[in-house]
């Protein structure tokens, strides 16, 4: 639809965004890769020369590595299961006719707009505090011994907090997808006498397939790098040190930049594996 003139103008207009993002990607990435092959301790002697793949080996063989992978997987997996399952149920509920639908929608979505540090702190203190938290009151009311959530059930606590933050996202996207379901399809199924459960399995769930995939992929990208929620609650203690948090500690707390950078490269590779799948779906959608 274009003439030669508009084509060159277009390239010029795209340039700033492309150049900036190119720089944003390449410069730090190159530096991370560079540091990952160095023994580099800014506070303890600085640049101590090349070490080859030493950092990569040390990162994966350190005692903290596998637990951190496990913590990451448990958190990501747990949050995904909770948000997707509850998200589907909630989306189906919100799609039903009711009074005050708009208000309920707003109530459900609200947690997504709460900044991570606030939600983590509110949960940590006002709900999970073993003495004054609401849960402690609730436990005591039923005659049970209050739980020190963030030390005794640290993973459960973090998963709860993060799920609360991401449930709105899953619900909102799945709700949008459900609403795009052709009502004639459902009516046809009704004419064919399909019971509710069959309708769910054969019509609603397949229709949601793509939206569920997108929710899973996008959440995975974000969940792999959750930080503030751990930073202000456990600080990585009690088995909640994720890969992201471990790298953060190596780089900024113990200032072992070489080691942390090698970890960073692992994290980048991991994120890219997930990203490839997401891009495929998004890319397909672009053609449509």
């Amino acid at each position: 639809m274009a003439t030669q003139h508009s084509r060159s103008a277009a390239r010029l207009m795209m340039a700033p965004a492309v150049i900036l993002l190119m720089g944003w990607m390449l410069v730090p990435l190159t530096m991370t890769i560079y540091f990952s092959f160095k023994r580099y301790l800014p506070l303890r002697g600085g640049d101590l020369g090349w070490t080859g793949f030493d950092n990569y080996v040390r990162f994966v063989t350190s005692t903290a590595f596998w637990p951190s992978v496990q913590a990451t997987l448990v958190i990501v997996g747990g949050v995904l299961v909770i948000t997707v399952v509850l998200g589907i149920l909630l989306a189906m509920l919100l799609d039903q006719p009711m009074w005050g639908q708009g208000v309920v929608r707003i109530l459900v979505i609200a947690p997504f707009f709460v900044m991570p540090t606030v939600s983590a702190l509110v949960w940590k203190n006002m709900f999970m505090d073993p003495v004054n938290g609401l849960f402690a009151h609730l436990w005591r009311f039923f005659g049970a011994e209050p739980i020190a959530w963030l030390s005794e059930a640290s993973m459960t606590s973090i998963i709860m907090i993060v799920s609360w933050q991401w449930l709105p996202f899953a619900t909102l996207i799945l709700l949008t997808a459900i609403q795009s379901l052709d009502s004639e399809q459902l009516e046809a199924a009704e004419m064919d006498g399909a019971p509710l459960l069959k309708k769910f399995y054969h019509i609603i769930l397949p229709h949601l397939g793509r939206a569920i995939t997108i929710v899973i992929l996008i959440q995975t990208i974000f969940l792999l790098s959750i930080f503030a929620e751990i930073f202000v609650t456990t600080g990585g203690a009690f088995g909640t040190r994720t890969l992201t948090y471990l790298i953060f500690q190596r780089v900024l707390e113990s200032q072992n930049v070489g080691l942390g950078s090698a970890g960073g490269v692992y994290a980048i590779i991991l994120a890219n594996i997930v990203a490839i799948f997401l891009m495929r779906i998004v890319g397909k959608n672009l053609d449509a």
């Binding site: 639809m1 003439t3 030669q4 003139h5």
Partner: protein
């Protein structure tokens, strides 16, 4: 004035040549229709004339001056788009005034022209509405109004009626024809609907795969189609085209008979066949005849109501003086 000449114009998208070298002259004041099946390049051709696409080689002349590298706005042409392309955020008045504002006309002149156009197009009561509040036909009129006020050398219409329902389409067809009679400005009109082409055009350009198959007046095309493609495309219902002994008897590879040039009889005739579906339109009746030994189906058009039923065996006789004959390449034999 609006005489448009295309000289050896070609257009390629990458490797794909959509318009092979093409020559065409559109005379001043002529209503020219580009017609052809979808994908035949008719819209591309219109967009080349408009300047919305660069031509790959060749020249476009408007009123004798080379316009090949002139930007769209400077060609003095106005276009009505298939989707009408009205500016949704502007009132009807502002939509119509937009090209005049761009041309930096003074406010009084803009006002005068907009009101004039609105009167011609029965839009006076709607001038302060937004396009979203108008019906399809009204939007169409606004799009035309926006074209008229510029007093262009030629109007370009890109399938302007395809988004309207059938009844409205007939009405708008008449309005556009009347507009042409009144303005006497060159109009180029793209459509895939041969009925629109036949009813509106002074000159029809039949296109297929970027090639011009035939140029001529509607009746030229009807009476002497240059090849089997044009023969099959122009006329409704379609011309019956078939090969075989009947064609050879008339020294042709393919022969064509229009449905309205066959007479039917229950007693005798040249060919015979069995009535399949009969479409009763009241004013006339279309029969689809099978088992004639000529082609799968022969279509016949009969005036008024005729009471043949499904399964009846009937006899057909073509009018020999209006039979069309084509050679092995599909070209018309004199």
């Amino acid at each position: 004035m609006g005489r448009i000449q295309l000289k050896k114009v070609t257009k390629s998208f990458g490797e794909v040549e959509v318009i092979p070298p093409l020559d065409l002259t559109i005379e001043d004041g002529e209503f020219t229709v580009f017609v052809g099946p979808s994908g035949c390049g008719k819209s591309t051709l219109l967009r080349l004339i408009a300047g919305l696409e660069d031509i790959t080689s060749g020249h476009i002349e408007i009123d004798g001056t080379d316009a090949t590298n002139v930007p769209p706005a400077k060609r003095g042409l106005a276009m009505v788009f298939q989707s009408y392309a009205l500016y949704p955020h502007m009132s009807v008045r502002k939509n119509i005034a937009f090209p005049l504002r761009m041309a930096k006309l003074d406010q009084a002149e803009i006002e005068r022209r907009v009101n004039g156009a609105a009167e011609v197009l029965n839009l006076t009561d709607y001038l302060d509405r937004r396009p979203g509040q108008l019906s399809g036909g009204q939007r169409q009129r606004v799009a035309i109004g926006r074209a008229i006020v510029r007093e262009p050398a030629a109007f370009l219409f890109d399938e302007p009626l395809s988004n309207l329902d059938a009844a409205l389409r007939v009405g708008m067809r008449l309005e556009i024809s009347e507009l042409h009679k009144r303005l006497e400005t060159t109009m180029i009109y793209v459509t895939h609907d041969q009925v629109e082409a036949m009813t509106m055009a002074d000159k029809i350009v039949v296109l297929r795969a970027g090639n011009i198959e035939q140029v001529g007046s509607p009746l030229d095309l009807y009476h002497s189609p240059r090849n089997t493609f044009v023969a099959g495309f122009i006329g409704s219902p379609k011309m019956n085209l078939f090969e075989g002994p009947e064609a050879q008897k008339r020294d042709a590879h393919t022969m064509g008979v229009r449905p309205e040039h066959i007479t039917v009889s229950d007693s005798d005739g040249l060919w015979s066949g069995v009535v399949g579906v009969a479409e009763h339109l009241g004013s006339d009746t279309f029969f689809h005849i099978h088992e004639t030994g000529l082609a799968d189906t022969i279509t016949v058009r009969v005036d008024g109501e005729v009471s043949f039923k499904h399964g009846d065996r009937i006899h057909l006789t073509p009018r020999e003086d209006v039979i069309h004959r084509f050679d092995g390449k599909g070209l018309r034999l004199a």
